[in-house]
């Protein structure tokens, strides 16, 4: 009888040590890219004809002076964005002054510096971004990002001055693609997959009837 009692007490204590909340099985997550896209619901994507892509990817890092990413990988990333835009019916032009919209690309290699530049149109404070004769930019929608290192940010700016804010140009579409690192190096195939996914989940972004 005493043996049963002791076993019971042990069982009670074991049950009592069971943690309340089971940790989720995050191993099931595929650890592939995460893609956000957002757009200006007042933008008329069907009326846009031409685009220009800034030929360098700005690197957001710890350096005070701007650095740019120019190698075969960055070229393939720019080409992937361009190919998607062409597929959507838009025509590339060589000069940004001739374009109806301009795509600017950034690569986030340091979370601290990125966060330090604020949660709004961060590049308005970051040194080195391309300019448009002193015009500013504004987002017609709320930012909703959780930034992480190893991310590509693509932003399409309409070159037509905004009617809502006359001294600024409107960011009519943006994409945030993260989860692109394999260890410390960029996975190009995952990056290109994320870029294609950004356009796949933006069916409104076309001028095709």
């Amino acid at each position: 009888m005493k043996k049963i009692s002791i076993l019971t007490l042990i069982a009670v204590l074991l049950l009592g040590t069971v943690s309340c909340e089971k940790d989720p099985d995050t191993d099931k997550l595929d650890n592939d890219y995460l893609v956000y896209t957002n757009y200006d619901k007042n933008a008329d994507f069907a009326s846009i004809s031409t685009f220009h892509i800034i030929d360098s990817i700005l690197v957001i890092d710890e350096k005070e002076k701007p650095t740019y990413w120019n190698n075969q990988n960055s070229e393939k990333i720019i080409e992937a964005f361009a190919a998607n835009l062409v597929e959507r019916g838009y025509t590339a032009v060589p000069a940004k002054e001739e374009a109806d919209m301009v795509l600017q690309l950034s690569y986030l290699s340091n979370r601290y510096y990125f966060s330090d530049y604020g949660s709004g149109p961060w590049w308005s404070n970051y040194p080195g971004y391309w300019n448009w004769g002193g015009w500013g930019w504004y987002y017609p929608y709320t930012f909703f990002y959780s930034y992480s290192t190893g991310s590509i940010i693509g932003e399409v700016v309409s070159t037509t001055p905004s009617s809502a804010q006359k001294d600024k140009l409107t960011v009519i579409w943006n994409a945030y693609i993260c989860g692109l690192l394999n260890g410390n190096s960029l996975s190009l195939s995952r990056t290109l997959g994320g870029i294609n996914q950004a356009f796949d989940q933006s069916p409104y972004f076309t001028n095709k009837k």
Binding site: M1, I4, C20, P24, L34, V35, N38, F144
Partner: protein
Amino acid sequence: MKSIKIFLCATLVAVALSYPIGSKAQVSLNSYYNIDWQFNIPLDNSFSDGASGWGMNYEGGYYVTPDIAVGAFLSFHTNNEYFPRRTIMLSETLSMNSDQQHQMFTLPFGALVKYRFQEADFQPYATMKLGVCYSQFSDYYYIFVSNQNRWGFFMSPEIGFNYYPWPNGIGFHAALYYSFATNECNLMSYKQSILNNIGFRLGLAF
């Protein structure tokens, strides 16, 4: 969560210390305690529909008449569901593509009324539990997690039995339950206004 663990441990120690080794059926003739493992199945739950056995139930009561007991209960449970990669709309214009792991943690507690159909070694019973329910909804995606905590009203009818095969006060407990809680979930693109569950419990009776 740490305070809950401390509370549960304190409860268990209290039960263990009050347990009279070598006594007859039940801790005393007028009181009972149950400690159970439970298996919970969410019904029509868009946030987390996965059945699981990650939960426990603690309850105790006092028989104010030979057949009717009043008491208190506390239980907790975690239900997970994996959502394969897909695109969801987070607002009218904002979309997100990722796979997700959802977790729904519920912790109801409150008062109960129990009716046992016979006072013997085998004691079938029916119980009604009323109380409040704390819930935490979590959405894990990539390296991020979004959470939402809610409180709601809780109600749960239950049927089962306590069986005391030995004269030392230790027995077995089995139960089937349905539970209803008014906890709302409005997280990411997922909306759930009511939590309905069924399940069963297996454990020890004192």
